[in-house]
Point group: C2
Chain length 179, copies 2
């Protein structure tokens, strides 16, 4: 069983890497993710920045990522408040990391060997929605994963909470706010 969970988690982590369809838009999407019933929150792309990161699996996955938060989430992050209050939403946007030939040309003269990597294609976007009553069974968080604006399936969404459990002491949130 543990092995199956791990495999499902692995699937969740690379979800959408293969399918580069339309970018996830900033407007609300009608189709809800399974289990948690979450749709893409309107205007999430204009939320404030929590942090950025890079996920690498040599030869397989290389992503640049940004986490954004709505005002409730950002306020809690800044105050170091856990658990997050109801209404907090965190968005995690994942893109491929690609070499920028344009930037490298500029860098080549003064800085031999310098490499610039920028955002390529959108991969997927994930949301954590805090509702301590509705999602009491999963730490008060609902989870959703969208690729090209379409939610992943039930099996994918069954992996979310298990994967976030190691961050229980930070209310299941891996990302730390970066000043």
């Amino acid at each position: 069983m543990r092995r199956i969970v791990f495999i499902l988690v692995a699937v969740a982590m690379v979800a959408g890497v293969v399918a580069f369809t339309a970018p996830a838009s900033g407007h609300a999407d009608g189709e809800a993710a399974p289990i948690y019933g979450i749709t893409i929150p309107a205007g999430y792309r204009d939320w404030k920045l929590i942090a950025v990161d890079n996920l690498l699996v040599e030869g397989k996955v290389n992503q640049l990522r940004a986490q954004l938060g709505n005002d409730i989430a950002i306020k809690a992050f800044k105050e170091g408040r856990v658990p997050f209050p109801d209404g907090a939403i965190i968005a995690a946007i994942h893109w491929t990391r690609v070499s920028s030939e344009d930037n490298n040309k500029v860098l080549a003269g003064p800085f031999p060997g310098a490499q610039s990597f920028v955002v390529g294609s959108p991969v997927n976007v994930q949301f954590m929605v805090k509702d301590s009553k509705k999602y009491a069974a999963t730490g008060g968080w609902g989870f959703a994963d969208f690729t090209g604006g379409k939610p992943g399936d039930k099996a994918l969404h069954q992996t979310c909470f298990a994967c976030h459990t190691p961050a229980k002491d930070r209310d299941y949130v891996f990302t730390r706010y970066t000043p």
Copy 2:
């Protein structure tokens, strides 16, 4: 002369990598950058996200970066409008890219070889401020670079515009908006 400019550009690009002092704060700073007279804009850390990137010089520099824009800049980016209107400000925040042991422990089970890189220390923060009259000699942009809240010196700021010239057809802005 060209070589000197290149060296200065190189210096500008790694500025602040060595000195990890206090993080640049989101509030206005009293000390203005030379040449352009720009202070740290109040609240810039809460501006909207333009894009993220990664700058790598093997063995020397490895940065995760985010570009944020004020409302005027974000509107212009979304509309694909160049030149940017007066009042547009772009902030480029640079941090070191460091391995996340916490995240790697979570990834290790399901995903051998997966590596998570997160933001480490702040390096520097740079601003481009559009004022077509005040900064007419430099494409309508004023430039500023701060490390630990303190502006870099005059020599550093003399490199900014030359380095941005290859992006003249995009109004001297390298970063592209990422939906």
